[in-house]
């Protein structure tokens, strides 16, 4: 590698397999002493051709396939895909299904955010906090196992509604779990807000400015930590979000700590949403009675996944298989912002900054 300009910079590779990165991604850092000057990202280590597979399976089989694109936002993929199908077929889902979709999505969001916050603690070397966050997350993992029978791929979505229901027993269980979670989450938030180890490692580190955030088209907590007030649940409500009060927390600093605090605040929002849903949950069927054919057409679907706006494009031609399914996960534009966050950063902070966009590699590369 030729060092750019002065002979003072040299290149260090990080990845594709690296202890600090949970998934394979290959970085080339131009460094000067301990300071990162430039970064080049080389992707593709978990490219699996899922887009090709979607064209070989029927629309109904694809509901199952797209759930397997990613583990942490597994529910958001089928959720958005079935919304696009429903748009094309002109279906309106039952009221109860709309609320149950919100419940599934918010449970997944809490578990996903707690995972990312736990990893942040781990990367700062504060492993007690890491284990504590993972223990709190275990409450939501147990909820998923109890309500859906699975801890990651919950299989809750179907075209025309949902594939699960809540009865008196599971509702009481979920309510009790939220009562247990709420004080734990508040205590965690207080630790992230005030602990000096966290503050020293995360404040003012990996900064992304408001204008850079707009230029990179970042979404989700990364955007909201730069003061961009955009949340699909509010900007284009779906499911039952138009009947619920969704707070959109934003911060101005755009550093690692702000992104963590946005996720922490969103856990609180999700807990309130879950309680509101359980309070307002209407009766009635959980899905449409039959499996409708999806006619020829095109549709755009989008939802607020834990990492931000997830977009689906679906084009059908009346056949069983879709003509084209294309999606863009929230991590996809967020990678680009790393170039700005990492310039000027210390080598020791690379892992913390990369983790702060909550990157999902299997989602990005599909």
């Amino acid at each position: 590698m030729t060092a750019a300009g002065a002979s003072k910079t040299y290149t260090i590779p990080v990845g594709p397999l690296h202890v600090a990165l949970e998934e394979p991604m290959y970085f080339h850092f131009d460094v000067e002493g301990e300071t990162v000057r430039d970064v080049d990202i080389r992707a593709g280590h978990v490219h699996r051709g899922v887009e090709y597979l979607t064209a070989k399976r029927s629309i109904y089989q694809n509901v199952v396939l797209v759930e397997r694109i990613c583990a942490l936002c597994s529910n958001s993929h089928p959720e958005t895909f079935v919304m696009a199908c429903e748009q094309i077929a002109g279906l309106e889902i039952p009221e109860r299904a709309a609320y149950l979709r919100v419940i599934a999505a918010e449970i997944k969001r809490i578990a996903s955010h707690l995972f990312n916050l736990g990893i942040l603690a781990h990367l700062t070397g504060y492993d007690t906090l890491f284990m504590h966050a993972m223990q709190v997350r275990e409450i939501m993992q147990d909820v998923k196992e109890t309500l859906f029978g699975n801890r990651m791929d919950i299989g809750a979505m179907c075209i025309g509604g949902v594939r699960y229901d809540l009865d008196a027993e599971t509702t009481a269980y979920l309510n009790a779990a939220l009562d247990k979670l709420a004080p734990e989450a508040e205590a965690l938030a207080e630790t992230f807000r005030s602990n000096r180890t966290i503050l020293r490692r995360a404040r003012g580190v990996g900064t992304l400015s408001h204008n850079q955030a707009i230029a990179c088209a970042v979404v989700g907590p990364v955007a909201r930590a730069c003061g961009l007030d955009y949340d699909v649940r509010v900007a284009a409500p779906y499911a039952a979000y138009d009947r619920l009060k969704v707070d959109v927390p934003t911060l101005a600093d755009g550093d690692v700590w702000s992104r963590a605090m946005i996720r922490m605040a969103e856990i609180g929002v999700s807990i309130r949403l879950l309680r509101d849903c359980l309070r307002d949950l209407p009766g009635g069927p959980t899905r449409l009675p039959d499996r409708p054919d999806i006619p020829a057409g095109r549709a755009m679907g989008k939802c607020e996944a834990p990492r931000g706006e997830l977009v689906y494009f679906l084009k059908t031609n009346g056949a069983d298989e879709p003509e084209r399914v294309k999606w863009r996960v929230p991590s996809f534009p967020n990678w680009d912002a790393l170039a700005f966050m990492l310039r000027g950063a210390k080598i020791a902070d690379i892992a913390i900054i990369v983790n702060s966009i909550d990157p999902c590699v299997s989602c990005t590369e599909r």
Binding site: G44, H47, A217, A236, K302, K315, N317, E323, R324
Partner: protein, 204 residues
């Protein structure tokens, strides 16, 4: 929050002198989904500039090779693709690109507030289109992905390297059937199959 303005159709019309095919739907919750086909793919840059001025965010770019209507065979197999071409005059897209299974459709999905505006450009086989990356930073990766997945030429891309695929893999990967063993470079697969056949032979 900026949403799609009332006069979006007139603005897009003014930016695309060759003409547009505009259609919009509004969801029960009020979100607009607009679709705008371009008669001439060369109008993409001026349409992009109009949307940039409106504060639109380029959320995604989808490319596809629409199959010819009533024609079952897509260009999936390497062999025989030429032989399957329809002999009659193929139907055409808006703007006159032949819809024969070899042409391309590229959809640029913009987000304005909570609304979608999708700009569609049609390209014949071997066609090329301008890069939006100098205008929208977020077009960089999607355009690089399109260049490796399809035989589409994107002009003036500032960094036209491979995104996901290794340079050793032939381009237009999504237009061909690549056997799984080739894809993952699984040298053991044939050996495994030979073993299976040998075991079957000795059993019978």
């Amino acid at each position: 929050m900026t949403r799609v303005p009332e006069d979006i159709r007139a603005r897009l019309d003014a930016a695309a002198p060759a003409g547009i095919d505009y259609e919009a739907t509004v969801s029960p919750q009020g979100a607009v989904t607009a679709w705008c086909g371009l008669a001439n793919s060369e109008d993409l840059l001026s349409v992009g500039e109009t949307l940039l001025r409106l504060g639109a965010r380029l959320a995604m770019i989808s490319a596809l090779q629409p199959p010819a209507p009533e024609e079952e065979e897509e260009q999936e197999t390497e062999e025989g693709a030429e032989a399957d071409k329809p002999t009659k005059e193929p139907p055409k897209t808006f703007g006159g690109t032949p819809l024969d299974g070899t042409s391309y459709e590229i959809d640029y999905h913009f987000v304005l507030g909570g609304d979608f505006v999708t700009i569609t450009a049609y390209l014949p086989a071997g066609g090329s289109i301008s890069s939006l990356t100098p205008m929208f930073r977020s077009a960089d990766w999607p355009e690089r992905e399109i260049m490796e997945m399809y035989a589409i030429v994107i002009r003036d891309h500032p960094d036209p390297r491979r995104l996901f695929l290794d340079p050793a893999i032939e381009s237009a990967a999504l237009e061909r059937l690549i056997p799984y063993s080739t894809l993952v470079n699984a040298a053991s697969t044939k050996g495994l199959w030979d073993k299976v056949l040998a075991a079957k032979g000795s059993a019978s």
